[in-house]
């Protein structure tokens, strides 16, 4: 019994490490016609992974449904872009990433997390 509980505790820890850090994140959605609709609700961007090509203009239409102030702003790290997202509205963020790479986009405090993969 003691061993069982200890083992399941350790297994749980391994599962946490694997799930949050080692296994891949959500499915990527490729930008179609340079535009993607992203829903901001319940602590996640949906979809959270966007793919696009370098040098192509990209419109990300963020629809913020979550009224909590956490979702208020979306910040694209490394692209010098940030935008306020009024509740209940769809806000279009237009950007043209010039350099290939992976750019994180998050809310101000990193609770909402997304990735923009530029090929």
């Amino acid at each position: 019994m003691i061993w069982l509980i200890n083992l399941s505790g350790l297994a749980l820890m391994a599962l946490i490490v694997w799930w949050f850090w080692l296994s891949g994140a959500g499915k990527a959605r490729r930008a179609t016609h340079g535009a993607v609709d992203i829903i901001v609700d319940d602590g996640v961007y949906e979809p959270a992974v966007i793919e696009s090509n370098a040098g192509e203009p990209l419109s990300l239409r963020f629809e913020r449904r979550d009224a909590s102030p956490c979702a208020e702003q979306v910040v694209f790290h490394g692209l010098d872009v940030s935008e306020y997202l009024p509740v209940g509205e769809t806000t279009t963020v237009t950007l043209t990433p010039e350099q290939p790479g992976t750019y994180r986009f998050t809310c101000q405090m990193n609770m909402y997390q997304g990735k923009l993969i530029v090929h």
Binding site: N6, M13, I16, F20, D41, D42, V81, Q113
Partner: protein, 838 residues
């Protein structure tokens, strides 16, 4: 009976699914329709024709054919729209739209109406704006055929109101959740504190009573606690974890454990049959309270941007087709003539054509004095007309106005982070899973080496760790302060381009000031008039003005302005001649008049006078202009680029901050020294070619100085870029000066000292927040895990952890809000007083 699979696209919610079901249901023979939102596919059973189904699907706006997704693509202008002027925008109120993809199908439907140039829908206020020449009834019909309802509305301001109401509603909802959580949790906690039994005796009334309490607590978790659980679940599916995860896990664990105790007490040793329903309910209540307070406090942190947004005028009185009409400001186009009456705001950027007035530009430049405006002067959107009526021609409208660009810049800067915040970023990115690991590890330690009963101790330690950890405080620490700091700076007419500049500007030791346009006005003005042989100053000035009336030289402008100010009118002259680099000559009343430099008049054989006084003028950095009638000098006019009235005071402030102030100029040493004396700088770098300014800055940096360069942003761009922080000194509306990290919209040098004071205050605030958040988490988590137990026997209650957690993020936001009351001038005065006393 056949089965058809049809691809759909853009359907993201149940509302869309219903629309699709309705659309396909209308097709004869479609019996059973299943919409799979995840796979973006609809399955139809029945005998319907596939073509009919595809058509119905396409009409619903969710068809997957490429033709169905033109909303974001640049559409060719419909023929009807070609060559037509912008018709009035039509605002429609839309009903039945519930999600982003409804927006798309409505926009597609509206875009298909002939004459529509552009259609955009706003889901927030359920409105759509259509521009072009279409008739409203055609638009309404198009929306209705797409499956929604529409009517025309007139008031574009409703959106703002509704948004505010929605935010208020969220706040009230959080307060209600607090009420439910605490309403259930507090009596239970009180019962425990007053000595009531919190344990379950199997087979007695207490088991049934606790079961009832457990179900009530479940209601608390399921209703007010719902957002946390939904958020946690969604994040989990994305391999992500956030604050919701911690709260859901913490409250969920406490509730599950308690339910096991209630339902199957046999599984748990007798001493561990304690229930923790009160903890679950209290935590939900306390966290909701924390969030509500945070919503309130955060509303204030973005006050600066809201204030700027409020500066935008709603309408403009445009002179068109011989009449005047009030139109929404969005419809003003460049070239329109706009009338602004006293007390009204300037609607768009423009140039005055008629009238004269004073404008209060303080909201943009921070400059408190109203500025006189007359024909030819530029006016900026958002400034307030205090005096008479003006008619101006619109030059920049919409997103091009200075105000719009300022708002854009401030918003952008508020989203950037100074390097000091990066550590917190890295920590918060891995924070939640780490806390989960600590919680499990703590539970295992309690299980193996902890006192009896192990199960309840495990549960308490794990729950408390999950609840007390606060990623919010850590994540909020930097951005909240940056937001308030950048906003505060904007209030003083200081635009900070990057959060990084806040950190650098707080830590400077040398300021290099360009002379022309930075310390001085940048345009020459008449400083003195000397008359020889019993003439009067006014006579000399009148003659000089008569000579210069035809010249466009900056020195001539200075004389003309001075003559105008004294009410002197120039007289007409003949045979006007301008000699480059020498002066001007003309004939008046039969005599030859010459105005120019000493050397030229000497060459012309003129007898000089007033030579000593003229030399004195040179010492004060003024240029003496000699006026000669025929072959005699009759007067001397001193023209100088005067130092700004508040430059000396601002430089004194900079020196009091402990900065070394250096003036840099291309002028010769003597006149540079004269200005330097008046301005009170520490050092002078004279005779520096414009292209060498950057090198001088670099030289200072190599000597270990942290250098701010203050210049005009155009000629000084390389030096501004080379400096640790470049300050571009603007003139009201030049906001987008790329070469500088900081733009001062007013011409005053006080902006430099203000910017440094605000940066220091902001950086200090960030440090307090980060320190607080790190200390809170790194003390709170070990204590919650039970680190103090072996020494003192203390084990934190999950309820205390919930209170501490919600307090911590509110504290961070409130501390950032303190910055709003910071006054840069006052802070300096305090340092000044302090240094006097010591």
């Amino acid at each position: 009976m056949r089965t058809h699979h049809l691809p759909i696209q853009g359907a993201t919610c149940q509302g869309c699914a219903n629309k699709i079901r309705t659309a396909l249901g209308a097709v004869p023979g479609a019996d059973d329709i299943q919409v799979d939102l995840a796979e973006q596919q609809v399955t139809v059973h029945g005998d319907a024709e596939p073509e009919a189904l595809s058509r119905a699907l396409a009409e619903s706006g969710y068809g997957a054919e490429p033709a169905e997704e033109p909303a974001e693509q640049p559409q060719p202008e419909p023929a009807a729209g070609d060559g037509e002027s912008a018709g009035g925008d039509i605002q429609l109120s839309i009903t039945g739209a519930t999600c982003a993809s409804c927006v798309r199908s409505i926009e597609t439907a509206l875009g298909g109406v002939p004459g529509v140039r552009d259609a955009s829908m706003n889901l927030a206020d359920h409105s759509a704006r259509v521009s072009g020449q279409a008739a409203p009834r055609d638009l309404i019909r198009a929306v209705e055929s797409a499956g929604y309802g529409a009517s025309v509305i007139d008031d574009p301001r409703r959106a703002d109101q509704e948004r505010e109401e929605r935010e208020q509603a969220h706040y009230r909802q959080l307060l209600r959740h607090t009420g439910y959580g605490l309403g259930v949790g507090a009596p239970l906690m009180l019962w425990g504190l007053l000595g009531g039994s919190m344990t379950v005796q199997p087979g007695t009334w207490s088991q049934a009573a606790w079961l009832a309490v457990g179900l009530i607590t479940l209601a608390v978790l399921a209703l007010p606690g719902r957002p946390f659980f939904v958020g946690a679940w969604k994040a989990l599916r994305h391999h992500n974890a956030n604050m919701d995860t911690l709260i859901a896990l913490g409250t969920g664990t406490a509730w599950l454990y308690s339910m096991v105790v209630v339902l199957a007490p046999g599984l748990v040793p007798e001493a561990a049959r304690h229930v923790y329903f009160e903890a679950s309910a209290m935590i939900i209540g306390l966290i909701s309270l924390g969030l509500a307070l945070e919503v309130r406090a955060r509303g204030k942190t973005s006050a600066a941007v809201k204030r700027l947004l409020d500066l935008r005028a709603k309408t403009a009185r445009v002179l068109r087709d011989g009449g005047e009409q009030d139109i929404p400001v969005e419809q003003v186009v460049a070239g329109d003539r706009v009338r602004v009456r006293p007390g009204e705001k300037i609607a768009v950027d423009g140039e005055v054509e008629e009238g004269s007035s004073r404008l209060d530009e303080s909201m943009l430049t921070g400059e408190p004095m109203p500025v006189a405006k007359g024909p030819g002067d530029s006016v900026a959107a958002g400034t307030l007309n205090e005096g008479g009526t003006l008619i101006y021609r619109a030059t920049r409208v919409g997103a091009d106005t200075a105000l719009a660009r300022i708002i854009e810049l401030v918003k952008k800067a508020q989203g950037t982070k100074p390097p000091i915040g990066r550590l917190a970023d890295q920590v918060s990115a891995v924070f939640v899973p780490t806390i989960m690991l600590i919680a499990v590890a703590a539970a295992l330690v309690w299980f193996n080496v902890g006192p009896q009963p192990p199960f309840s101790h495990m549960m308490v330690a794990a729950t408390t760790v999950l609840i007390i950890a606060c990623p919010c405080a850590l994540g909020l620490a930097t951005p909240m302060s940056v937001m308030v700091g950048v906003g505060k700076a904007a209030e003083y007419g200081i635009l900070i381009r990057q959060g990084e500049a806040l950190q650098t500007a707080a830590d400077l030791d040398t300021v290099v000031l360009d002379k022309t346009g930075t310390i001085t006005e940048g345009r020459p003005a008449l400083t003195r008039v000397l008359a020889a042989d019993g003439g009067t100053e006014d006579e000399i000035l009148t003659l000089a003005a008569s000579l210069e009336a035809g010249s466009e030289h900056p020195l001539a402008q200075a004389i003309m302005t001075a003559a105008e100010e004294r009410g002197l009118s120039p007289r007409p002259v003949s045979d006007f001649q301008a000699l480059n680099g020498k002066g001007v000559s003309a004939r008046l009343d039969g005599a030859t008049l010459r105005l120019g430099n000493r050397r030229w008049l000497e060459q012309e054989g003129v007898t000089l006078a007033l030579d000593d006084q003229a030399a004195d003028l040179s010492k004060d950095a003024a240029t003496p202009l000699f006026l000669a009638r025929d072959d005699r000098v009759i007067g001397v006019l001193g023209v100088a680029d005067r130092i700004k009235t508040d430059a000396a005071e601002a430089i004194r402030r900079l020196r009091e901050r402990g900065l070394r102030v250096i003036m840099i100029t291309g002028d010769i040493q003597a006149s540079a020294d004269a200005i330097a004396r008046q301005a009170g700088v520490d050092e002078v770098l004279a005779e520096v070619l414009p292209e060498d300014k950057a090198r001088e800055v670099k030289r200072l940096q190599q000597d270990g100085a942290r250098v701010a360069m203050v210049g005009d942003g155009i000629n000084d761009a390389p030096a501004l870029a080379q400096a640790d922080v470049g300050f571009a000194i603007g003139t009201g509306t030049d906001v987008a000066i790329e070469s500088a990290a900081i733009t001062l919209m007013s011409g005053s040098l006080h902006g430099v000292a203000d910017a440094m004071a605000i940066s220091q205050a902001t950086l200090g605030n960030i440090k307090q927040n980060l320190f607080g958040a790190f200390v809170y988490n790194s003390l709170g988590v070990p204590v919650a895990a039970g680190l103090l137990y072996p020494f003192t026997g203390w084990l934190l209650s999950p309820v205390i952890a919930g209170a501490a957690m919600s307090l911590s993020s509110v504290t961070v936001v409130s501390n950032a809000n303190r910055l709003r009351f910071f006054k840069p001038n006052k802070a300096d005065r305090r340092t000044a007083d302090g240094s006097n006393e010591s």
